[in-house]
Symmetry: D2
Subunit: 352 residues, 4 copies
């Protein structure tokens, strides 16, 4: 029998991507579609790409209220919650309470330390749950994911930052201090709400940094996971950029090489770490390109050593909505349920 | 047992799209990958998006020679041929001879009249096969496709032009003369070879018509199918345009309304025609947008009536590589093999 | 002594383009910058591209109130009004009253017939002025522009539609009935306010028609000018499209050729009409491309004859903010003041 | 009397930009247009944006041969050479020999040390001239530029890297070791020749690093100028990226702050350095965006201090073809000739 899933926040970008991916998954079926502003709309109205598909486009987006989560008991087995922070935690808490497994795509359950959360996001509405939440990066938290009731799907910038760096820190190939992470994101990362800085004419020929110098909310999440990998506290410089494309993040990270480190050792460390999972380690001088992972659940990583400077350049390309959000959430659920990571997920993206 | 398919021309855009779609299809498996310039390369080299996928990226693109087609007997049941015209016909002829079913994605088997073909493309290398080729638009040629040995997958412009107009001609809602078809294509329609007119800096802010006034090779294909639908010879004005996006075609067609024709009648005629198949008829004033069909096997059509001028505006959006090429080729094969049209095909595209 | 100009609505796209162009004009100087929502801001804040330029970035956007227009007497000689419709008319009326010449970039003074205006836009706040307003397309209204006190700068779609068709109608090379105009606009035509349909991720791979079948407000303006050229009432089918680029409009128009009409006659008619002005007639099979007019005050037109169908294909590319708005407004002012059309205007755009 | 300039390599992107800028310059006039592959073409053919402009589009691109440079004596006073490396040096040498002032836009005269040049580019055809060449970054080499006979216009990446960092090094606000420069370039930086990696469909949704880890040819130029500013040898890590837009470079550089350094000190140092010239120092948390300098001769720089990490983030946005190439070449000529830097140059770009 297939697992019935609900998507709370189905009309946003991560929600829409979940709809696409769940439809292609042999063991999942859509049991519930929840929304907030668009509640009451037909799915075909909120996501016209579904229009005309029998059994899909006429389904209604239901108004999700945490107080009524118990009514979903029996309708769904798993809920993907993709709401703004705090709202997502409240939804997740109510769903868990109703006996429904939760994969949360907001930031609400990613940070183990409530104090850190509150520094960046304000009060946490469900602090007590942090202890049981598993950080849903299957390549690093495989064992904990099996059977988990509450999974915190990682952020897009963190995914693209942690994947290339964690194996180098674990293997002590780079110094834990002085790491610089320079990330370039497509515009879908900003979400579906229109705003001046994502208005087409002011985006299509623009390239810009934002939230520089330690002010972006994904910073503590990156540092938490890199610290875990390094087994020592890590502080990084992180700069997000907005680039004129829709989907994808390219991260270029810089770290001081330990004495004797080679690029080949970096590749080997990553391959060792990523024997299971959905990470490709590029070789032979090939470098990641968001072009190649668009719509795909895979990440591409690569390494180069700048010998003059003694710096490792670690790069990673993902689709921010796929491996950086919805596909990774399903990958984590796959692992949780005992399936292969890739079950039902597109590994080859749409090219071009 | 799954049907084993070969892709001849696997490194071009339609070939790459076939790889993606075959991998997601439950009844098909990849039995052969053929190429010309890239023969000998690993698939991961030709299509880096496949890199790191076990069992896929290390497969080699084999040099396809029509003379050696018989060696594929036993390895594959169906071949998708996606080569330049004439080369594709030669490949198809050899494969058919070897007992392999052929779905050809070039123009070589689309025109029933060899004389018309030769006017536009030069000598036809396998004229005798034209009689058995079925035009692979399942919504219009469903019955002929069942069990067909040679399927000519339609062109992208023709698909987007025929789908909105054919039902109106069949139902005599528009005049057969004076039809104007204005199509806007994304750049992937020009293929994977780099050229001055597809160089990013000279494309990204450019919008242009080309091959105007009856000089584009897709014209006879459009006219053949519209004439079949109208049961009378049709001459159209067709203008292709290149627009700065990768995937998709939007076609806006103009036809004189017959007396009394309403937009609602047009929608009803299309819905009647497209009860089976992968065409969505939009209602309530919604208009097609390539945004919504990107990566999807579906077409979206819509109609409006300009009452002042007595003109029906018929619109259609497709993904040129999906419904306009590779997904439609698989849809036609599905019908040929007795499967539902949509089997294994993505109906919801990647959004955004 | 240079002419002092004011820009009312300086922070929108046409206002910003006016700032750029006035700064490059040897006979104009910026005497006043007015705005509404951004009133009070430094220009460097509203238009960061001006930041750091001495004497410019620190100027304030002043709150424009029609009631206080008389205070601008003595500060400026000419006002460019670029406000939403109705507001623009009120501004223009007040400025004229204050003895200031007005070049209005809204739709408010373009339609000679107040009844037609009110059908499309609602009540006109300054109907009495319509009689003295001159339609600011210098290539067609040169004589009336000399010394005009009130100039209505044409809309972007109308400019790109009228320029290729008017000479053919004047010369009776095409039939006046059955004309179809299919226009593709860049996104800056939608203005500077962010909206869902101009949000980058939902625009960058989208191509769509909108306001089809006689529902776009630029229709009456197009028909007014084509009727003047044809000396007979003209009804057209007009379809605007939004395409994923920032600046430019490409219009492809279709008209039935009169017996004997050749493409060469069309080119000759246009060249005759456009001996003066800023319109290039392309020859030798070259077709217009928005790429080539980006940032330029020129329009490119071309013609082809589809002999099978007896249809003239008339094409035009402009920069919607330059020849389609602000540069044309200055061109009209140049003619009004007795200067050459091109004075101070960029004729070569930014390429690429 | 105006200075007559020649452009050798007029049909490439920097050449086309020179044409645009020279036409807008009150003290320069176009005396000669030279080309290689496109020699013999009308300018209107090579650059259709000039088509229809009297006195311009019908001018011929002349075949430039260094051996015949003396024939240009008397026709032009200054030559801009914009050819591939080595060819440009040969052209420059011949033109200087003919008594013509040279502003070279290739890499040939930028590196003071011939050995360094030859390590990156192969043999230098005019080594003896290196001693007299002035690096044409007016903000740093103002005095040397006055009256210079041979000016080496800086590269685009170097301009965007040197401008934000040089003042910090001069003022000893950052450590000279450990600097990381992460640059994101638009595609026009790759030149006008079509190639697989600049083919629209493989660029428009792609974001990628290339020539990583000390392998890009602009590296020695960056290090030369930063070393001059620091008065000590500097080694940097430099990563160029290709991003999907046409014009512009955004550089984000990272350097360890000296004890006590504040962001305000960085801004003050830059403002002090750039009191003359075309560099805007942004304040109040505003960050550079290529959007705002498109088509403009200005650079925008900004600074932030990451206090947790002790790292200064120094950012710069330029138009790679304007301040990063042709506009800067003219700015350098302006300074050379005793004009203000900005004479005839657009300081406000095209927005949007």
């Amino acid at each position: 029998m297939r697992v019935r899933v609900g998507i709370v926040g189905a009309s946003g970008y991560t929600g829409a991507e979940l709809v696409r991916l769940v439809l292609g998954h042999p063991e999942l079926e859509l049991g519930y579609l929840g929304a907030r502003e668009k509640a009451g709309q037909r799915l075909g109205e909120a996501l016209p790409g579904t229009e005309g598909i029998a059994g899909l486009s006429d389904r209604r987006l239901e108004a999700f209220e945490p107080g009524a989560a118990s009514e979903l008991r029996g309708r769904i087995d798993v809920a993907f919650t993709a709401l703004p922070h705090a709202a997502s935690a409240r939804a997740g808490a109510a769903l868990l309470e109703a006996g429904i497994r939760v994969v949360d795509l907001s930031a609400d359950f990613r940070l183990a330390d409530a104090a850190v959360y509150e520094e960046w996001y304000g009060e946490h509405p469900a602090k007590a749950l942090l202890a049981q939440a598993v950080y849903g990066l299957p390549e690093l938290h495989r064992a904990e994911l099996r059977g988990a009731r509450l999974i915190a799907a990682p952020g897009c910038y963190p995914t693209s930052s942690i994947l290339p760096l964690a194996p180098l820190l674990s293997a002590k190939l780079i110094e834990p201090s002085g790491i610089v992470i320079d990330s370039k994101s497509g515009v879908s990362g900003a979400g579906r709400s229109a705003a001046a800085n994502t208005h087409f004419p002011e985006t299509s020929e623009g390239m810009r940094a934002y939230k520089v110098a330690g002010t972006h909310r994904h910073l503590p999440e990156i540092e938490q996971e890199l610290s875990r990998a390094a087994k020592t506290p890590i502080t990084v410089v992180f700069t997000p950029h907005l680039a004129p494309f829709s989907r994808g993040i390219l991260t270029t990270a810089y770290a001081r090489a330990r004495a004797g480190t080679t690029a080949e050792q970096c590749r080997d460390a990553a391959e060792g770490q990523y024997r299971e999972g959905l990470v490709t380690v590029l070789r032979d001088g090939r470098l990641p390109d968001t072009l190649w992972v668009r719509g795909s659940a895979r990440a591409h990583v690569a390494y180069a050593l700048d010998e003059r400077a003694g710096v490792v350049v670690a790069m990673c390309a993902i689709d921010n909505l796929a491996k950086g959000a919805s596909a990774q959430a399903i990958q984590a659920l796959n692992v949780c349920l005992g399936h292969p990571d890739a079950l039902g997920l597109p590994q080859v993206g749409t090219f071009p």
